[in-house]
Symmetry: C2
Subunit: 341 residues, 2 copies
DNA sequence: TATCGCTACGAAAACGTTATCGACATCGAT
DNA sequence: ATCGATGTCGATAACGTTTTCGTAGCGATA
């Protein structure tokens, strides 16, 4: 740890004590006024409120939290600010307004790999003190042991031992693959996500099953892992498209790798969708803007965020075990990146 | 305020007292061990550390903060999670790693209008307690009075009385307009941002001056305010393109309104860039993906974010008044949405 | 042996809140 | 007049840390 010391400006925060002194009452009374508790005369309330306004007093979140163990803040941990998380963030951020809670976001900063377990550390540091509950949008598993209610979004670690909300990854992959089959494609490549992620496994299952139902069988030679990131996808996509007998269509397990695939196709002089059909997964905003626009599977990301908030609030209110696993439907979005063979 | 009470799980946080009791020392000693302070024997340190690991103790950020007024956390307030803020977030999030600080993001949730002053309230609530410093990415002005160092990114309120980092909006707008002029356009429409924002004013100035330098004069009939959002831009853009003598090119003051403009053009059966040239501002990731890809002015958003945290950290360390206003250069990015008349 | 200096440790006071509970009025009813 | 009820308010103990400062131990020096 770096040893920093901060000579701060000589500004002094106005505390509840200042208000009390100025208003000529005790801190207890001021606290009551602030929290609208019973037992203070109308005249007093008015006077105290006036002083509060005059002094511009704002109660210290920290002190309040320390004492009451209640902050009305829920934290959301995202691994990184990529399109998917950002959409989730929008959803939560919208759902939170008017709920009486506030939202605080923390990002691991994309330091995947080296710093394993940061989610756990953060959860532990923040919980019981700074936040009343948390939403996890992190790829790696966070086992239980948190001291606050937690709900996971798209729990990449599988049906975890905590409440979750996710989308129907399996059906979505089914939809995507069937779409390609319906277009007449038979050699369909697959660009998977990180194999340790549950969503990636489910999407691969969907791909397999769809093929089998069509009387085909998944060919390992046509399958690569694309790592859910644009730049990670170009290598594997390149391999696929350089095959002696390349696929006529590729199902990429998320939009970012689909974009990467289209980059590679362009680079190789292949036209999408004329020479190659591409379908993605997620329907991030970007996917509608590409040339051609990407056919993909929609995940209602913003709704996932808002459902997570609802779930968490129910949990925090102790409303006993509501539906503990919300799964939202996925749907095919046909755009320009797919075409009959 | 809703009156919520939370019957929480009977989980008890392990506190420093627990550690102290288990290790058979005082809390003071444990605190010293945690913070690596001088005055504790090697054997004791070792034993305490062992207990800490065993119990899985994590110090409470809140209590620590309350006492020491130091959290090593810097807060970043964004108005909303739109592409611009998100890029900034990425930049800050990257720059923060390894600095010894942590990043906590808060979003106003897009409740512009009604809830004016939330930034101020939040700053006040968080500062002095939860965060050691703050970065503001909010459109409306936040006057001083904060009790912690603050730096503003793209301070829409003009050269504020606080350290800022922004991009050279004026030159950027100059570049964009000159580019259109060079292509032979003479009737150039302008879609401005919110008139109360400094960046919007500067971009409009750039537009005007570029025209004047070319011996032209800005025609109010060709200027509309587009509000920096995609859906807000469609109305004004529609007006512009329905003019008896419509412009042959439009300079939109940010990428989002440029996208809106292209939507309208498409709807009207106009081809971009054949019938209409469009240039945006910001160079958000989306702008490279549109059809055609958008010619725009690059703002180094991630760098702006990272410079902001550098600046803030210097401020917090008390390194006296370093460069207090960082302005980063803008550059034209020529893509497919512009063409000679 | 008395004194000193040093190290290792603990007692206790903060930090700014909230919550409990007792004190003191005031007042209507007996 | 006395009593209880009711309505206002304030002392004070927490909450989990950090930090200051005092003190006990102890070997070395005078």
């Amino acid at each position: 740890m770096t040893d920093l010391q901060a000579p701060r400006a000589p500004f002094r925060r106005v505390t509840i004590t200042d208000v009390a002194r100025t208003a000529g009452v005790s801190v207890a009374t001021v606290s009551k006024v602030i929290n609208g508790r019973y037992g203070v005369a109308a005249r007093t309330t008015e006077r105290v409120q006036q002083v509060i306004d005059d002094l511009g007093y704002e109660s210290s979140l920290v002190a309040r939290s320390l004492r009451s163990h209640r902050t009305n803040v829920i934290g959301i941990l995202v691994a990184e600010f990529e399109p998917f998380s950002t959409e989730i963030l929008k959803g939560t951020s919208q759902a939170i307004t008017g709920s009486g809670y506030e939202l605080l976001a923390y990002s691991g900063g994309g330091r995947a790999g080296e710093d394993v377990g940061w989610e756990r550390r953060y959860l532990s540091r923040l919980s019981g003190t700074l936040i009343d509950g948390a939403i996890l949008v992190t790829p790696t598993v966070v086992s239980t042991g948190a001291s606050v209610p937690v709900v996971a979004i798209d729990p990449h670690a599988g049906p975890a031992d905590m409440p979750t909300v996710d989308a129907d990854n399996f059906s979505g992959a089914l939809l995507a693959t069937e779409h390609l089959l319906r277009l007449g494609h038979r050699r369909i490549g697959f660009l998977g996500g990180r194999p340790d992620l549950e969503s990636a496994r489910l999407r691969e299952d969907g791909y397999r099953i769809a093929l089998e139902r069509a009387g085909l069988t998944a060919d390992p030679a046509l399958m690569r892992v694309g790592g859910y990131q644009r730049h990670l996808a170009v290598g594997p996509a390149h391999e696929l498209l350089s095959l002696p007998e390349p696929p006529t269509a590729i199902f990429a397990a998320n939009d970012l790798s689909a974009l990467g695939t289209m980059d590679v196709a362009r680079e190789l002089g292949l036209s999408v969708p004329d020479d190659l059909s591409v379908v993605g997964f997620d329907n991030v905003p970007e996917s509608a803007l590409t040339t051609p626009p990407l056919t993909t599977v929609n995940q209602p990301m913003q709704e996932m965020g808002s459902r997570a908030v609802d779930l968490l609030i129910q949990l925090m209110n102790g409303t006993e075990q509501v539906c503990t696993h919300v799964q939202l439907p996925t749907a095919l979005v046909e755009r320009g990146s797919t075409r009959p063979v």
